[in-house]
Amino acid sequence: MTRGGFTALHFLLAAVLATVALCGGCMRKGVRLADLRAALPDASTVRLYDRPSDDGSALILEWGKVDDVVEGVSYAVEVAKSADDFETRQFKTVKVELTEDSLKSADPKYFGFSEANKKFYVATILPAKLFPPAGAPELTADHIKKLVADDVLSKEQSKLILAEMASDTPDEKLTDEEKACRKWLRRLKLYPRVMQLADEGKLPESKVQRAIRAMTDETADDALSGGDKADRRWLALLAAFIEKRDTKQRDQAAKAINKGVYYVRLAATDGRKKAYVLQDREKVVYSGQARVDTFKRFKLNNLVFALAFSGIVLAFIQIARRNPNLFIRRIAGLEAVDEAIGRATEMGRSVYFVHGLGSMGELATIAAVNVLSRVARRAADYDTRITVTNINPIVMAVSQEVVQQAYTEAGRPDAYDPDDVALSATSQFSYAAAVTGRMVRERPAAIFLIGSFMAESLLLSETGASTGAIQVAGTDSEHQLPFFITTCDYTLIGEELYAASAYLSREPRMLGSLRGQDIGKAFMMIAMVVGVILLTIAVAVAWFDADWITHLVKVL
């Protein structure tokens, strides 16, 4: 400024500017105090309480919605650690805009779907966010000075570092040297934390020296010698350890902060003026404490469904144990079994049973073995040769047992030849190659492809179809179903295979589960049909409200 100092002209200019600014402010936020007061809810509707169903990290301040609020008004929720802190202005403010999102109904996860929720505003108070725990000590100029004093850093180096600490140029605009310096600074930032660790006695002196050496070394990564490189990598590990420790400590501190008692005032504001909720002319201070709840109420529908369905399944398994003759409907593919074996007998050719890739633990394989027992029994009855191809040794062993049993039951144990149930190959495509090769040469009259299949399914069923055999397939491998359906005469689709297996084996765990699942399906079918009809009518005629149906299955 010139020597003329503060002239009248300057003063005038400043005054005009100030007026304009003030007026502008008034035009923008010009809400009268009376309007602010009118926006205040009735003190009796204001409540501070722990947020339900949560992990104890939040308090909720709730107050009644006031109609006809002048535009430009919002609410300010002031939070303090003690009631006296309001006097010393040591409080934090949570702003609440008057939008739909601030209504209690906007968060059904914690407050449910009650219609009354639309009449309340809520402010979520997160103590750990408002009063964050103290962070790790920062690197300051004093630290650098100390390093220089200890002769670890040179004067020039300290100047470079101090300059870099003050710089806020974005990374892209730096020169290569400055980039290197910034990397160096990143390492040095660990210094205060390392010293803290040393003070706590957690880091022995030799390791502190190693850390300081690695931190203060300004050489670029690729120019380092072997030992220094190892030091720097070790420093990176130390840095990771420190950060992990810090995070853990911060989390613990946050938990402690969440446990405290907090004091809250509510005010209507236009951004500058505030009108507080009063009672007997005193600003009302609410206090409350967050606590950890014991149950997530919003997961109630999940719990009820899971428990009810589990109960039903377990009950039916028990029932099936007592009465293995539970009804299962006719399954088309199973009847084809007899037909196919009959045809094979007429033609005097053999029957193939091709196992999928599954191991013995898989449901599809267990089902396949159950179907095999039926097929083998029929083949034994009709005196038709049966060939079982396997890829898994355990499945082979089980299959041999099943087929032998079938022959024994048919009264012709001598007709069983274990070589007919053999391992064909051990990998996917060689299995396909081996089995298709045999099919083409031996031309069976009927082929059963049952179990879990992968990409080889197409090769097997295509070759089978082209030899003119009757093919019956069954799998729960969804991707392969289209190929079986187009190339085979009958296909057991997905769960039909399990049902067929349960039907044949009468095993209680299969039967019972199947029946239990049917109850679940019935429930879902009914829920869908009834739900859609009710909702549709409700929307069309608007006489009643059917949203509760959606809320029942809502996942929050």
Partner: protein
């Protein structure tokens, strides 16, 4: 082991022809590779070029399976299994055991870190080692402790998650009013009858489909009369869905072939698009 051996009747003269053709093809492959890829262009590394040629060669060997199963195919197949095995073993070490077991213990920065990590990891490491007992017949019961822990966790967690994400969430998606709700009256007025009817039809199609498919997999009642009609609707839906899946699978398999052809054309032969 038998292969797709369709040429049982082929005579020895046929074998000779096949061998000659094979040698010819291999030579041609070598010559073409050499002509196209050598001398090296600037920026190319010899080992990458050799790699590409080997990759192309392996690709052709695998395709030779289309003509007939042959020893070259079997060699390549087993080599591939081996390479995959080796890769898996190294990745398991580098990406699992080293960062989870070795590093935390043997490269701990302070003694506090070491004891902390050890107390945290000792149980799973022991359980992991117990898992290995599955290989022995006598001690394999020890692995049941590890499997039990994993299987139990998976089952319990699964019940909750499946109920949440696949059942309730899908029911929520299914239970919606048939008509599209148009809140803006101006828009509603401009919609023609068909515009309003389409969403209803669409929602109905979905509702009937889902319910009838569920009914098709319903085994507790006989599918007679009405039920049989309904389950027939269900199977039709399934067939259309399988058709869609079929179409997509064709697309996927063809894409894989296209990918290989692109590799041969662009990387091996260096044809510029």
């Amino acid at each position: 082991m038998t292969a797709v051996d369709n040429t049982q009747t082929s005579s020895s003269s046929r074998r000779t022809i096949e061998l000659v053709v094979l040698v010819g093809l291999v030579t041609a492959f070598g010559i073409i590779s050499a002509l196209v890829r050598f001398p090296l262009e600037e920026g190319e590394k010899l080992r990458d070029v050799i790699g590409i040629i080997i990759g192309a060669g392996l690709t052709f060997i695998f395709y030779s399976f289309l003509y007939r199963d042959n020893p070259l195919f079997k060699i390549a197949e087993n080599l591939y299994v081996g390479v995959a095995l080796g890769y898996g073993a190294i990745i398991t070490w580098r990406q699992s055991l080293r960062p989870e077991v070795y590093d935390p213990l043997f490269r701990a920065v302070t003694s506090e870190a070491f004891w902390h990590e050890l107390s945290y990891r000792v149980v799973p490491i022991v359980l992991g080692i117990l898992l290995m007992t599955r290989l022995s017949k006598k001690h394999s019961w020890l692995s049941r402790y590890s499997y039990g822990l994993m299987v139990g966790w998976g089952a319990g967690m699964g019940i909750f998650v499946v109920t949440d994400s696949y059942i309730l969430k899908q029911l929520e998606g299914a239970i919606r009013p048939l008509q599209k709700i148009v809140t803006d009256p101006d828009v509603a007025a401009n919609l023609s009858f068909f515009d309003q009817a389409w969403p209803v039809v669409g929602s109905l199609v979905i509702l009937i489909g889902t319910v009838s498919v569920l009914f098709y997999f319903f085994f507790s009642v006989p599918h007679k009369r009405l039920g049989s009609g309904f389950s027939r609707v269900g199977i039709s839906y399934l067939m259309i869905a399988f058709g869609a899946s079929f179409g997509y699978t064709v697309m996927g398999r063809m894409s894989l072939l296209i990918g290989r052809v692109q590799f041969l054309m662009f990387e091996w032969l260096k044809i510029k698009q």
